[in-house]
Symmetry: C2
Subunit: 370 residues, 2 copies
């Protein structure tokens, strides 16, 4: 079954949309937040826990899985879904972002990128064709083109060269791709240059993809600049295709992204800060190790109905963190993911009821702007 | 409700017994293995996971909870059951074993033990009265007397002095204890000296307890010596009271202990080795990181029906361990606990069917003797 996007409703007052993404492993309601399972596991979670909290799709990383355990092993296991016991949709990124983040450990040519593994220093080569081939072996429902992500800040010259290469490589990915049950998304680059964003969007749309990633944002620039770039980029993407803002996952960025027409998001933020003992609550962030939680027998968030908040006190979770017990970070991870997934549910409801701007205002009045 | 032991059946061919231990938080079928939750959490597990695998009672440690978060906080939380979200029975040890294990960090007098915390070096004092008071605040269903455990090997003189003190302290614990919903167990000491074991058992039975721990075993002595000591000690304990062999949890010791009349066991072994990637299977131990599991898509144990074995391959679990992912040790912990709890279920069934010696033989033919 081919992946298909169904546009359900457009908000009259913002650029937000409601949609449904149909895949071989189920339907995803958009706008959606995707928890990240870098190494074929969303850190500290089981698939059942992810499902119970309402996860519809997860992201996994081609770069990491290619290096360990290798795509051949995952193919032999029957594909990534079966290997990790997750039968709902999966999106894999292409490894482009990771490979370009390696800095002096990589060498770029038109053909592809030679890089050294962060695990053992061994030398590897990744190209649009290889990235696509690996993602076909992994078997995710949505895969991403191999792109060059310019860091922030970058010169106009470098940003332009990177976007041109990204366009050429996107064409080669499309050429190399051959699985009907997978959708290959292109990735818009162009850094913080309005006209380059527009050019990248136009060139990728010319090649034609069933969905578009927006890359090169949330790389260190001010949030207002990111929002501005979204305002230039999104309107140039086809109305009937999903738009995926890569690597973004704070509550404010999710809401602001949705209002600018984004349908999909992913980020390690909720799981990473959870493991450090920071949780998101309806009244902002809470650092669980702080002394004022010592004898606080209330839940993390008294408006939350996740497994953690239904069963455990701040005092207990603080004890678990002080004692370095694994259950502590399991409970905060459950809570943070539930918080973001529930936020997206509320956002979808607000779009459906034509009250997204009001919802936004109510949310930030309590949560604060990060 | 007072704790009550019901003797259901005695094996005609061995000293094994079937029983039921009634507590305010539910009934425990004996012989039973108790998973250890040292710091108010069985490492890496939720209460629901423990229940799903058939856990009837867990053990927690007074020494650790006294130091962190402190018994006052747990009392304020509504007791240990509520603090940790576990509504089935709990047994707490007295802290005696931990305090005496501190070596040069402690000083013993007739009154009690002065020791330095392993956490921050602060000085503390523990006595029979304090250990009992703390355990009353924690509120476990079964609590243990504060005893002096002689290391192995120890001289006859020291072992005798330790057992005499253990008897006197057991009397003081009974005096200090005042909760009807808790059972206080005495602890038999006497090291590896047959007559001292007998003397300790007799003296404690004279004081009179609703159950008896057998301490000072599994402290480094050969297993056959431990079995010998059990053979001397157990027959001197009252038939109608439960006997608890402390700190023992390998499959062979469980079976051999049951055959010598033991009703209860606890040990960190299954959870500790699980976190290091070693699992117990019907054909012996498996080290999951070993290279021969790399492409092994079978479960850890194809005769096992735990959550892990129903859903994951050795190859995937090995990948999780190589990638240092938390889900890996969650899966092996679930498996090892399920393995031991299921072993005890089979042992109880074998006693009921008068075939424990045959079961023992069948089990070791496959598992091997550790």
């Amino acid at each position: 079954m081919a992946v298909k996007f169904e546009l359900i409703k457009e908000c009259g007052r913002t650029k937000a949309r409601l949609g449904r993404l149909h895949t071989a492993h189920g339907v995803i309601e958009t706008p959606v937040f995707m928890p990240v399972g870098t190494q074929a596991t969303v850190k500290a979670m089981t698939p059942e826990e992810l499902q119970e909290m309402g996860t519809e799709i997860i992201l996994s990383n081609t770069y990491h899985l290619y290096l360990r355990p290798g795509e051949d092993l995952i193919r032999e296991a029957g594909g990534l879904h079966r290997f990790m016991n997750w039968d709902r949709p999966i999106l894999t990124d292409s490894g482009g972002f990771q490979v370009f983040s390696l800095g002096p450990l990589r060498k770029v040519s038109e053909d592809g990128v030679t890089f050294k593994s962060h695990l053992d220093g061994s030398t590897h080569f990744m190209s649009p064709e290889r990235a696509t081939e690996i993602q076909m072996a992994l078997g995710a429902d949505i895969i991403m083109a191999f792109d060059e992500c310019a860091p922030y800040p970058s010169t106009r010259e470098y940003t332009e060269a990177a976007l041109e290469r990204t366009t050429r490589w996107a064409g080669r990915c499309k050429e190399a791709h051959g699985r009907d049950d997978q959708a290959l998304f292109g990735i818009v680059q162009g850094g913080m240059y309005k006209d380059l964003r527009e050019r990248s969007a136009r060139e990728l749309v010319d090649i034609g993809f069933p969905g578009y990633g927006i890359g090169g944002l949330s790389v260190g620039e001010p949030k207002l600049l990111m929002y501005e770039m979204l305002e230039y980029t999104v309107p140039l993407l086809p109305r009937d295709k999903p738009r995926y803002l890569m690597g973004v996952g704070s509550p404010d960025c999710l809401i602001e992204g949705v209002m600018r027409g984004v349908d999909m998001f992913d980020c390690v933020l909720p799981t990473r800060i959870a493991r450090n003992g920071t949780v998101m609550t309806s009244r902002g962030r809470v650092v669980i190790k702080n002394a004022d939680n010592t004898r606080d027998f209330r839940p993390l968030d008294d408006e939350c109905s996740c497994y953690t908040c239904r069963n455990y006190s701040r005092a207990y979770i603080r004890h678990l963190f002080k004692a370095e017990e694994i259950l502590g970070l399991r409970l905060t991870t459950i809570h943070n993911l539930y918080f973001l997934l529930t936020l997206m549910k509320k956002v979808r409801k607000a779009i459906a009821e034509d009250r997204l701007p009001e919802f936004r205002q109510e949310f930030f009045a309590e949560y604060g702007y990060e």
